[in-house]
């Protein structure tokens, strides 16, 4: 079919026409009347123009780097068509003293062994005329092909350039350390298992999710009516429950916060399913998780973890900012440690009060603190 006669000729051509219509001179020539029938609208030409842009960007980045020492940041991920892509970012200090992190290139790699990665990176560096000897640091996540002591990517680069110090990505490290530390305590470990269990049940189907949202909206409305919470743009949004993931930054914090916010609604949903679920497994699972949710232990650990992770979340957020530099990070580490220590020393009373009021609000039976001090004391010693 002739493209000229179609009603809609695609976004690109329509857009061209629109732009051309703004100027008579341009409009007279574009898409047809240019000398020697040149249209320059084929996909190859578009790609060539894009290529020119990219080339210019790269050369201006190269110009910015000059002969400064730089630091390699490398990570890999899979893209939509399941090809392994490796991104290469260069961090350096430019002439006026600003830290810059520039995206240099992205390469498709066949496999993720250290040798292949090294080859590809060296190729890119030499393509951009950067000297391997000028590397003064390397940063990767903690994967073994990257950090391995003898054959990891960092070791291969240190062979070439002995001053390319390897720094483990602190944001990754913090997350891993926190989770590992928390999981050492068996109570907390079971807590997280249960948390995932509950969240899975509640967000398993769209129907349950809808129910959850409806309940939450009703609670918020009620609270607004009796004047307990304020209204404002974006303050009382109805969200869903979020799953925590071990390697996802601050996902645990978000997950816990969302549960605290929607505690009542979650309880209602679980109760409903437990009463009129269609199969015995549904009823059994939900009854179990409902019991969990109503136990004092669960509410208590929920609050402790919220406090601890809340403190470290600050550090985690700070680490994710661009151009963060290493001394600031260390300072933040120290303040975080002090805060945790403070929480451990004198946060007990406020925590207990908070939990008690929370429990009263949600109709959970408060355990007698003198009664079961040993078990609670253990989870406190984190």
């Amino acid at each position: 079919m002739n493209v000229q006669n179609q009603k809609n000729r695609g976004n690109f051509l329509e857009m061209m026409e629109l732009l051309a219509s703004y100027n008579e001179q341009v409009g007279a020539l574009v898409l047809g009347n240019a000398p020697q029938n040149a249209k320059y609208t084929s996909h190859q030409i578009q790609k060539e123009i894009l290529h020119v842009f990219a080339r210019n960007v790269q050369s201006s980045i190269r110009h910015e780097i000059g002969d400064a020492r730089f630091c390699l940041i490398v990570d890999e991920a899979r893209d939509e068509s399941r090809r392994e892509q490796m991104a290469l970012v260069i961090r350096f200090v430019d002439r006026s003293g600003f830290i810059r992190e520039r995206f240099l290139d992205i390469v498709h790699v066949k496999d993720t062994t250290a040798a292949t990665l090294k080859e590809e990176i060296s190729f890119v560096l030499s393509h951009h005329n950067l000297d391997v000897q000028n590397i003064r640091g390397q940063g990767y996540d903690g994967a073994s092909n990257m950090r391995g002591e003898w054959n990891g990517l960092q070791a291969l680069f240190i062979n070439d350039c002995p001053y390319a110090y390897y720094v483990h990505c602190l944001a990754h490290q913090l997350q891993l350390a926190l989770i590992a530390a928390a999981r050492e305590i068996s109570d907390v470990h079971t807590f997280f298992q249960n948390l995932i269990f509950i969240i899975n049940i509640v967000s398993a189907s769209c129907k349950r999710n809808d129910e959850l949202r409806a309940f939450q909206a009703a609670t918020i409305e009620h609270l607004v009516d009796i004047g307990e919470i304020e209204t404002g743009k974006g303050v009382n949004q109805v969200g869903g429950l979020q799953r925590p993931g071990d390697s996802r930054w601050s996902s645990h914090f978000k997950s816990i916060c969302s549960l605290i916010k929607m505690y009542g609604a979650t309880c209602l949903v679980l109760e409903n399913i437990a009463l009129d679920g269609s199969t015995y497994s549904q009823r059994g699972d939900t009854a179990f998780s409902f019991k969990l949710l109503m136990s004092f232990n669960f509410a208590f650990i929920l609050h402790i973890i919220k406090d601890v992770i809340g403190i470290t979340n600050m550090l985690c957020q700070a680490l994710q900012q661009k151009s963060q530099h290493i001394l600031n990070a260390i300072h933040l580490m120290t303040t975080t440690k002090t805060l945790i220590q403070k929480l451990r020393n004198d946060g007990w009373k406020t925590l207990l009060e908070e939990v008690t009021s929370f429990c009263k609000h949600q109709d959970i039976e408060v355990a007698d603190m003198d009664d079961c001090f040993s078990s609670v004391g253990r989870s406190r010693r984190k």
Binding site: A38, D79, E80, F103, G139, L178, A180, I326
Partner: protein
């Protein structure tokens, strides 16, 4: 807490400890000439010749007296600010070796967030409908997308010139 200490205790930590000596916080309370010289000896021997190391020591002594009393540089809170401040006040030409050392330390990275940002950009560019995108195309697209700031500085003439220099074109736009 123990776990935090364990995880963050690596070979890089010593480097960090020594580099805190340059930190401008609390009006340069942590400043220590010995530490800085040790830092250079241990971690950056290739960037400074023997001659320069002696000079560095001398420069540091001047630096210790001069910079903490400078009205503008006095209240700096981080090394990154300090580095910019040094360039602004043109102190970096007076203490070139100190400046070089500060730049080396700043080059060290903290986290790999920028690469993660690149991947999130990739998710936006290479969507389900465009999953057969060529690698070349993807690379060019991403570079232009991520480094928007640089692209904004380009002029149309620059692009047209390069476009023509790639190969013979039929129509002349100039």
């Amino acid at each position: 807490m123990q776990e935090l200490n364990n995880r963050f205790n690596e070979q890089a930590i010593e480097l960090l400890k020594l580099s805190t000596a340059l930190d401008p916080r609390n009006s340069y309370k942590l400043f220590n000439v010995e530490d800085i010289c040790l830092l250079v000896d241990k971690f950056y021997p290739q960037d400074f010749s023997d001659q320069e190391k002696i000079h560095l020591r001398l420069q540091l002594q001047h630096y210790e007296l001069d910079v903490p009393n400078h009205p503008k540089l006095k209240s700096m809170s981080s090394i990154a600010d300090l580095c910019q401040g040094l360039v602004e006040t043109e102190k970096s030409t007076i203490y070139p070796l100190v400046d070089r050392l500060i730049r080396l330390i700043l080059t060290l990275l903290v986290s790999t967030t920028t690469t993660e940002q690149a991947f999130s950009a990739m998710k936006i560019v290479k969507t389900r409908l465009r999953n057969r995108m060529e690698d070349d195309f993807l690379v060019n697209y991403l570079i232009v997308y991520i480094e928007k700031e640089i692209v904004e500085r380009f002029t149309i003439d620059m692009i047209i010139d390069d476009f023509y220099s790639m190969k013979e074109r039929r129509a002349q736009l100039k």
